[in-house]
C-alpha cells in the first residue's frame, strides 16, 4: 500500500465513528424485518490515474449520450429497430419497456439524468462495463460523505495526494435539476420513506442539493400541475421530481393501482410537460441486461463513433451462434437472469453441480430471451484493510454521469467490494463494503 495513506488507515476507527455520527447507514429486510446497518467502509481508496480517468470520462459520456438517444428513439421513431440494429423482441419483451411513455417528450430529450454505470478493471488494465443503471441508480452519497469525513480526519492525506474534489456531486445534481425544472417550480426528491434501503441517501442528497425531501402523500396533481402541499393547504408548484420510487409505483392511476408511494395522476402532468421526472419513466428498457449487449452498437448507430468503453464479452442465447457457444461452454461462463438485479440471479457455471447445470441449460433452452452469458472477467483485486492486514478482494466501480443541458461525469464514484474472499458479488445488500474513489489530478 502507498505509504502516503498511512495516516488515513491508522485513523480508520475515527472515520467509522464519524460515519456513525452522521448516521451513514443502509437498510435491509431480513425475514420481513427492517434493519439498518452501517455500510462497512474501507479507508484504502481506489485510485484512478489521470490518464485512466480521461479514458473513462470520454467513454462514459459517449455511452450515456447514446443510451439517451436510444431511449428517445424507442419511444418515438424506432429507427434502431427498423434498421435491424436491435431486434424488436428485445425492446417490447423487456420488463422495462413502458408503452405509456410512447410519444412523451422529456425536456431536452434527456431520459437518463442520473446514470450509474458499473465497471470493473481487468488484471490486464482494461476496463469493462458490466451494467448500465438508468432507473434509480443509488450510492453516490456514500463516497461523498466518506470524503467529507476522511478530509476532516486526515487532512495530511489530502495535502500529500493530488485528489480531484468529489464533493461537487450535489452541485452537478442541482444544476441538472435547474436545467430540467419546468414552470419555475421547486425541486423535490421523492422518497418512499425512511424504511427504504437507500433512505439515508435520499435525505442526504436533499440536504446537499437544497431540494425538498417529499414523502408519499405530500405531492398532489391539480389541473395537470404538481404541487407540494403545506400546512393550511398552502401549495408550492413543483417543477422537477427526482423520484426514488420505481416506475411501477409512481402513479397508481396508470401503473400499480395499490401503490401508496406514488402521486396519483403525475403521468398526466408529465405528459403535458408540466413537470420533469428524474429519471424519466420507461428507462428500464435501456438498462435491461439483454439490451446491454447492444449498447456498443448504439454508440456506432447514433453517434457514428467507435465505442470507447468495452462491454464484458457477452453472449445472447437468442442468437444461434451464441446459443450453441453457451450450451457448450456453460461451465466457464457467468449466467445472468435479465429480470433480476442487486446481485441476484447471477450464477457461475463453475460453481454448479451436474444436475444444476442440466437444469440451467433447460431453462436457457426454454426461455432464451431471459438469459445472458458472460465470460468471467479476471478482475483486478483491490486491497482492503481487515484486522490490520491488507488483503485482496473483488471490487467494482459505479461511475455516475449526470445529464442536464450537458452530460458530465462525476470525478469519483462508488467502489464496492466483496467481503467474502470467494465471491464476486459486491452489492451492499449481500454484505459488501465500500471505498472512496480517488481520481488523481496528476
Amino acid at each position: 500500500m502507498d505509504t502516503r495513506l498511512n495516516e488515513l488507515t491508522d485513523r480508520r476507527e475515527t472515520v467509522n465513528k464519524w460515519l456513525e455520527r452522521y448516521g451513514v447507514r443502509f437498510g435491509i429486510y431480513k425475514n420481513n424485518v427492517f434493519k439498518e446497518q452501517l455500510f462497512p467502509f474501507d479507508p484504502v481508496p481506489r485510485i484512478i490515474t489521470k490518464t485512466d480517468w480521461e479514458y473513462l470520462e470520454q467513454g462514459l459520456r459517449q455511452r450515456v449520450t447514446a443510451l439517451n438517444k436510444f431511449l428517445w428513439d424507442i419511444y418515438h421513431d424506432k429507427n434502431i429497430i427498423r434498421d435491424s440494429v436491435v431486434p424488436e423482441e428485445f425492446v417490447y419483451a423487456s420488463k422495462g419497456y413502458m408503452p405509456e411513455c410512447e410519444g412523451v417528450d422529456p425536456k431536452g430529450g434527456v431520459y437518463a439524468h442520473i446514470s450509474g454505470i458499473d465497471l470493473v478493471e481487468g488484471k490486464n488494465g482494461q476496463w469493462y462495463v458490466l451494467e448500465d443503471n438508468l432507473r434509480i441508480p443509488s450510492g453516490a452519497s456514500y463516497p461523498m460523505i466518506a470524503r467529507e469525513i476522511t478530509r476532516k480526519v486526515s487532512p495530511k492525506t489530502f495535502a500529500d495526494n493530488a485528489v480531484a474534489e468529489n464533493r461537487g456531486y450535489a452541485d452537478l445534481l442541482r444544476q441538472m435539476m435547474t436545467d430540467m425544472t419546468v414552470g419555475n417550480g421547486i425541486a423535490v426528491i421523492l422518497t418512499p420513506g425512511r424504511y427504504n434501503s437507500a433512505y439515508f441517501e435520499h435525505s442526504y442528497l436533499a440536504e446537499k442539493t437544497g431540494a425538498v425531501l417529499a414523502y408519499p402523500g405530500e405531492l398532489i396533481v391539480e389541473n395537470n400541475v404538481v404541487y407540494y402541499t403545506g400546512i393550511e393547504n398552502k401549495l408550492n408548484r413543483v417543477g422537477c421530481i427526482y423520484r426514488r420510487v420505481s416506475d411501477e409505483y409512481l402513479d397508481p392511476m396508470v401503473f400499480e393501482a395499490s401503490s401508496l408511494l406514488g402521486i396519483p395522476n403525475v403521468m398526466q402532468a408529465y405528459k403535458a410537460g408540466n413537470v420533469a421526472l428524474i429519471n424519466a419513466l420507461g428507462n428500464g428498457v435501456a438498462d435491461d441486461k439483454g439490451i446491454y449487449y447492444f449498447v456498443p452498437k448504439m454508440v456506432e448507430y447514433y453517434l457514428h463513433e467507435k465505442p470507447v468503453l468495452q462491454n464484458a464479452p457477452t453472449y445472447l442465447p437468442y442468437f444461434k451462434e451464441d446459443y450453441d457457444y453457451i450450451l457448450a461452454n456453460i461451465n466457464n461462463l457467468v449466467i445472468k437472469d435479465v429480470s433480476e438485479a442487486g446481485g441476484y440471479g447471477v450464477v457461475f457455471g463453475r460453481d454448479l453441480s451436474e444436475d444444476k447445470i442440466k437444469e440451467l441449460k433447460n431453462l436457457i433452452i426454454s426461455e432464451p430471451r431471459r438469459w445472458i452469458a458472460q465470460e468471467v472477467i479476471d478482475f483486478k483485486d483491490l486491497e482492503i484493510l481487515e484486522d490490520g492486514q491488507l488483503i485482496e478482494r473483488k471490487a467494482d466501480l459505479r461511475a455516475f454521469v449526470v445529464s442536464g443541458n450537458e452530460t458530465k461525469v462525476w470525478k469519483s464514484g462508488l467502489t464496492r467490494f466483496s467481503r467474502n474472499p470467494a465471491s464476486f458479488v459486491v452489492n451492499s445488500s449481500q454484505g459488501g463494503g465500500f471505498k472512496d474513489t480517488w481520481v488523481m489530478l496528476e
Partner: protein, 232 residues
C-alpha cells in the same frame, strides 16, 4: 433552483414532536439528577415523587431497578432512552430541514444511551454527554434552520414540553408563568399554530390568585389545556 417556502403537515408534525421529545430528554435527565442525588443517602423511596409526576408505567422494585428503568427501559415510555429514540424517529425525517450536523447530536445521544445500557452503567454522570449534545442540538438547530415557520413549530414543541414538565413537577408560579410567556413568543402571525381559545384559557389560569398546583383538578386542567394548545 427555486426554494420551497412551505412545509408539509407531516413535517410540521415531526418538528413539533422532535421539539417535545428532545426537551423531554433534557428535562428528564435534569430532574432525574436531582432525584438521584437525594437517593444517594436518603430514603429508599425517594424516587416515588419523581415517578408519580411522570406517570411512568414502569414497575420497579427499589432504587436500583428504578434508576436503570428510567434511563434505559425502552418499554417505559417515560424513560430517557424512549424519549431519545422518539426524538430521533422524528428528526430522521427532517434531515433536509435541520441538516446533518444538527441530526448528528441526536445520533450520538442514541448511541451513548445504548452503549451505557449495554455496559450496565447506572451512574447518571455517564449520560452528561447526552445533556451536552441536547444543548448543542438546540444551538445548531437555531443556527441552521433557515425556515422560520419550521423553527417556530419545533420551538413550540420544546416550550410546551418544558411547561408541561414544570407543571407536573410543581414549579413556582413565576417559573410557570415565564415558561408560558416564552412559549407564546413562537406563535407569530405567519405560523399561527395555537388554538386561540385554549391559549386565552391558559393565560387566564396562570394568574397569581388562581395558581395552585397542589389542587389536583386545577393541575389536571392546566395540563390538559397545555397539551391541547396546538393541533399537533
Amino acid at each position: 433552483m427555486v426554494k420551497s417556502t412551505i412545509i408539509s403537515t407531516a413535517k410540521a408534525n415531526s418538528l413539533y414532536w422532535l421539539g417535545r421529545y428532545e426537551e423531554r430528554v433534557y428535562m428528564t435527565l435534569h430532574l432525574f439528577r436531582k432525584c438521584y442525588d437525594r437517593m444517594i443517602d436518603g430514603n429508599p423511596d425517594d424516587y416515588s415523587h419523581f415517578r408519580n409526576n411522570l406517570d411512568t408505567k414502569g414497575k420497579y422494585s427499589g432504587n436500583g431497578e428504578f434508576v436503570f428503568g428510567m434511563l434505559y427501559d425502552e418499554d417505559n415510555e417515560s424513560s430517557v432512552i424512549s424519549a431519545q429514540n422518539k426524538a430521533m424517529d422524528n428528526a430522521i425525517l427532517l434531515r433536509d430541514l435541520i441538516m446533518s450536523e444538527t441530526l448528528s447530536y441526536l445520533e450520538m445521544s442514541v448511541s451513548r444511551l445504548r452503549h451505557c445500557r449495554e455496559s450496565q452503567e447506572a451512574n447518571v454522570t455517564c449520560l452528561q454527554p447526552v445533556i451536552d449534545w441536547s444543548l448543542a442540538f438546540w444551538g445548531s438547530a437555531e443556527q441552521r434552520l433557515r425556515n422560520h415557520t419550521a423553527l417556530n413549530i419545533m420551538m413550540t414543541g420544546r416550550n410546551i414540553e418544558n411547561l408541561d414538565i414544570q407543571i407536573r413537577f410543581g414549579y413556582s408560579f413565576e417559573r410557570v408563568r415565564l415558561a408560558f410567556d416564552s412559549l407564546t413568543r413562537y406563535n407569530d402571525q405567519e405560523t399561527n399554530i395555537f388554538d386561540g381559545n385554549t391559549a386565552a384559557i391558559i393565560d387566564s389560569l396562570i394568574v397569581k390568585d388562581k395558581f395552585n398546583l397542589n389542587d389536583i383538578s386545577y393541575k389536571n386542567e392546566l395540563l390538559t389545556r397545555v397539551n391541547k394548545l396546538t393541533l399537533f
